[in-house]
């Protein structure tokens, strides 16, 4: 047997050795405490929903609405300032042209 053939055999043997591991992997049993936690998910989720009082939800909604209103007000005011500065510029340049 040549060195190359020996190397090839060694390589194939190593690959077989690695792939054969899959035959020995066992599916582990799920721990009992995990099953209990999973079965408690519906009640935990319901409890979390109940934990947030309606008053807090309305307060948050009102805050968001107020924030949006302030944003709209501020953006409208800036548009007015821009338009007034534009008209000032026009007057100034037309005055220069006349000179």
């Amino acid at each position: 047997m040549t060195t190359k053939e020996t190397d090839m055999n060694e390589e194939q043997h190593w690959i077989d050795d690695i792939t054969s591991v899959s035959e020995r992997i066992k599916s582990p049993q799920m721990p009992a405490h995990l099953l209990e936690r999973i079965q408690a998910i519906p009640s935990t989720i319901r409890m979390k929903v109940d934990l947030v009082p309606k008053r807090t939800i309305w307060l948050v909604a009102a805050s968001i609405a107020a924030l949006i209103a302030v944003n709209i007000y501020v953006s409208n005011s800036s548009v007015t300032v821009e338009s007034s500065s534009d008209s000032f510029g026009e007057t100034y340049f037309s005055h220069l042209n006349q000179l």
Partner: protein, 191 residues
Amino acid sequence: MTEQEFIDCAKRDKDTAFSYLTTAYAQKIYGSCIQLLRNEEDAEDLVQEVFVSIYLSLDSFGGNSKLSTWIYAITHNKAKEFLRNKTRLKRQGTLTILDEHSEGLSSHTINFNHPGVQLEDKERAAVLFDAIDSLAENQSRAYRLAKIEGYSYTEISEIMELSVSSIESLLFRANKRLREILADFYQKSKS
């Protein structure tokens, strides 16, 4: 319970439907999570995340796909998300168990703590899992389901929504590619 009975049950009483799922699928999902993450603690967290997701989206299951396909898709997506977050956080204490042949096989280090792997197989299993991760996604999924999780070809075809013959050819290609990856790795480690 048939799929239609399950859908009707989920519409009528979400909790009963969920209870049925925990009895029928919890063990399988746990097995999948262990194989996908190879870490007991992470798998427990993931199983919980998967079941929370299942409970919250029970209403949206309309029977367009098989129940097993739907559940496996949720598990797979949640596992991917979990691994992405874990990689991003780069938690401390990450242990890379790789033998002298595994150097450079994959940059993905994992805290290998698979309860189904015997101690003497741990290093070889780490190399094998890294090689499986290097396969194309479909091949890797099919190989893991068939060879590691022990699903039948029919079950895999239902989960992956492919024909049995497609699964057979996918596994043939996966086997071939896996051996190529391992051979390449063996050569690199030798030189």
